[in-house]
């Protein structure tokens, strides 16, 4: 059984997506348990897989028994074992937390939504597990298409902003496909490990250089790296809460993983950092991304949209960290994939709780919210502290690695950008917290003397419990950072990077 984990990860959710859409015709109430079961199996397999990788080292799984490079192999090592676990656990928790909000916001469209949800997770897990460059493209499009469909179920401008996302997402995926095409022309192979073995004599070739740059740009579009970020804020803001809180923590992070995989496995760090000599400009781009993300977030008066701009800044953290070209920077980037997935999930679950109880999540709607939803706002404070980077929450530790990597590499601008963004995050989150804690409730009409009359109206328990688990996870991951780094990430980074 445990031999089959890599296949179960992808095939169980894929088949259950079909079963869910069929079950939706019979009885809508069947869909949720099937989805939970499917993602439960996926989470169980990915945790099992991570434990096996910790024991035995990298695992190669041949789909259908065909040997690579002819067949498609799933290749799981420390790096993607960790990312697989994060993706499947985040997706599972979010599914449980979102049940009520899906029923409220989507009404009779729950069955297709669950099918798309599971399909999206299939795609994400497949992207992370696969060892085949073209297979990655197909799974990328599965993720993207199910994401478009889910986000377009939102209200207001959702369809229009999803259409913009679709244009950009298609361009990104096509660029990636084009880059893979060039790699195929020069090496004749699509298997990542095989390509890596064939490439070194060809590093001087213009086609390899072109392939790398084109793949990189494609992945950047997909991860919303500034200035290619324009699609992200509107698409994520107007989508249904459950879709945003799945897509916002995972899709950009998985794309960062793809970039790191390209640097570390398909091309070697030697090629990416030394032969190309483009790491400095890319770190500068990341600096700009962090500054712009922070400033754009400052100008927002809407909680959810503010969070989407913070994602843009966080993408800058990870791209910059990965391109610092040293061990600390890469560790910080990989650790931040884990942390940022959890932080973003926590923040977006709070937004989805607020959306469940209130009309909207603009700042004006949030006045005095803490008296109405004290538990939700408690979790929000934990998420805020983590995004700002206060110990012992996990956000502090990845930022620590990123900053020490920046100092080692002599990239002081990146360090300044990280500190600046932390300061801006302080302003951003304390502004929200101030509105929620100290402003009188909106209905008081300005003469809110005396004790607040608003009774507590907290979100249901099925939404609160997963939220608390995630908030506790933020602290726990922070406390066990040492273990994660020494036992997992240390082995994920090749020895060549010092």
């Amino acid at each position: 059984m445990s031999q089959q984990y890599p296949a179960l990860l992808v095939i169980v959710p894929l088949l259950s997506a079909l079963v869910i859409s069929a079950a939706g015709w019979i009885n809508k109430r069947l869909c949720f348990p099937i989805a939970v079961a499917a993602l439960g199996v996926a989470a169980y397999s990915s945790i099992g897989l991570l434990l096996r990788v910790l024991d035995e080292g990298a695992i190669v799984y041949r789909l259908g028994g065909w040997d690579p490079p002819m067949g498609i192999a799933y290749y799981v090592d420390h790096l993607n074992g960790l990312v697989l676990t994060v993706v499947s656990v985040v997706a599972f928790l979010n599914l449980i937390a979102s049940k009520k909000s899906i029923e409220l916001e989507l009404g009779d469209k729950t069955a297709p939504f669950y099918a798309l949800y599971v399909l999206q997770v299939t795609g994400l897990l497949g992207i992370v597990a696969t060892g085949d460059a073209f297979n990655l493209y197909v799974l990328l499009e599965i993720t993207a298409l199910s994401g478009y469909a889910m986000l377009a179920m939102g209200k207001d401008r959702a369809q229009l902003s999803t259409l913009n996302y679709l244009y950009m997402g298609t361009i990104g995926a096509c660029f990636y496909l084009l880059g893979v095409g060039y790699l195929y022309i020069v090496t004749g192979s699509l298997n990542m490990v095989d390509i890596a073995n064939l490439l070194p004599p060809l590093y001087e070739s213009k086609a390899v250089l072109g392939a790398f740059i084109i793949c990189l740009v494609g992945v950047w579009v997909k991860m919303a790296f500034f200035p290619l970020h324009a699609w992200l804020p509107n698409a994520y803001t107007h989508g249904p809460s459950a879709a945003s809180s799945l897509i916002a923590p995972l899709v950009t992070k998985v794309m960062i993983y793809v970039m790191i995989r390209l640097i570390l496995t398909v091309f070697t760090p030697e090629f990416a950092f030394n032969i190309l000599a483009i790491s400095k400009p890319i770190v500068w781009l990341a600096v700009v991304a962090i500054f712009m993300g922070a400033i754009l977030a400052l100008s927002e008066r809407n909680l959810k949209k503010m969070l989407t701009y913070i994602i843009v800044a966080e993408v800058g953290y990870m791209v910059g960290g990965a391109w610092l070209g040293n061990r600390a920077g890469m560790t910080g980037a990989i650790l931040h994939i884990v942390n940022d997935a959890l932080m973003t999930l926590c923040a977006f679950l709070v937004v989805s709780n607020i959306a469940y109880k209130l009309k909207g999540y603009a700042f004006d709607d949030l006045k005095g919210l803490v008296r109405k939803m004290p538990f939700t706002m408690g979790a929000f404070v934990v998420a805020a502290l983590s995004i700002i980077g206060v110990p012992p929450t996990c956000g502090f530790f990845s930022k620590w690695y990123l900053i020490s990597g920046a100092i080692q590499a002599g990239q002081y601008a990146f360090m300044v950008a990280l500190l600046f963004s932390s300061l801006v995050n302080v302003v951003l989150f304390f502004r929200v917290i101030e509105i929620c804690y100290y402003e009188p409730f909106a209905d008081d009409g300005g003469h809110g003397h005396g004790p607040p009359s608003e009774p507590m109206a907290e979100a249901p328990l099925t939404m609160l419990v997963p939220l608390f688990i995630v908030a506790a996870g933020l602290v726990l991951v922070g406390i066990y950072t040492g273990d994660i780094v020494n036992k997992i990430i240390e082995f994920a980074i090749p020895q060549g990077i010092v």
Binding site: E141, A152, Q159, L160, L163, L166, T170, L178, G181
Partner: protein, 134 residues
């Protein structure tokens, strides 16, 4: 100049795909009508499909089907020269890419219909004007 012409002529398949890609990209950026943008997107995707398919082609090669493939032991066996056959792998990959591009086109057009139902127009500037008015 002569070198340039030779380069263009010798690798014309690449130039065609790049031209098509740029036409698609131009339509996506410059056109105001949502359906025209979607058409541009499809041209963009098709250009890459063309690129892949053209890389599999070889001069003087035939379709990759072995004529006496069965019972190929004993006297009937003969050597297979890869140069005699078109490389089938890029073509197979593109079957998948075509499916993906059709699916993307379908989703995009469905979204365009929803946008039209909501705003009664497909012109992007008119839609944005309507949003700004609110």
């Amino acid at each position: 100049m002569g070198d340039l012409i030779q380069m263009v002529v010798a690798k014309y398949n690449y130039w065609i795909y790049i031209t098509l890609m740029m036409i698609g990209l131009y339509a996506m950026i410059a056109k105001n009508n949502l359906v025209k943008k979607i058409v541009g997107m499809n041209i963009f995707q098709t250009a890459i499909i063309l690129f892949y398919v053209s890389t599999g082609a070889k001069r003087g090669a035939t379709i990759p089907i072995l004529e006496h493939g069965h019972g190929g032991h004993g006297a009937g066996a003969h050597m297979v020269h890869a140069a005699d056959y078109i490389n089938p792998l890029p073509h197979v990959l593109m079957l998948t890419a075509i499916v993906v591009s059709v699916a993307t086109l379908g989703v995009a057009l469905a979204l365009a219909i929803r946008v039209y139902n909501r705003y009664d127009t497909l012109e992007e500037d008119e839609i944005l004007a309507q949003i700004r008015e609110k």
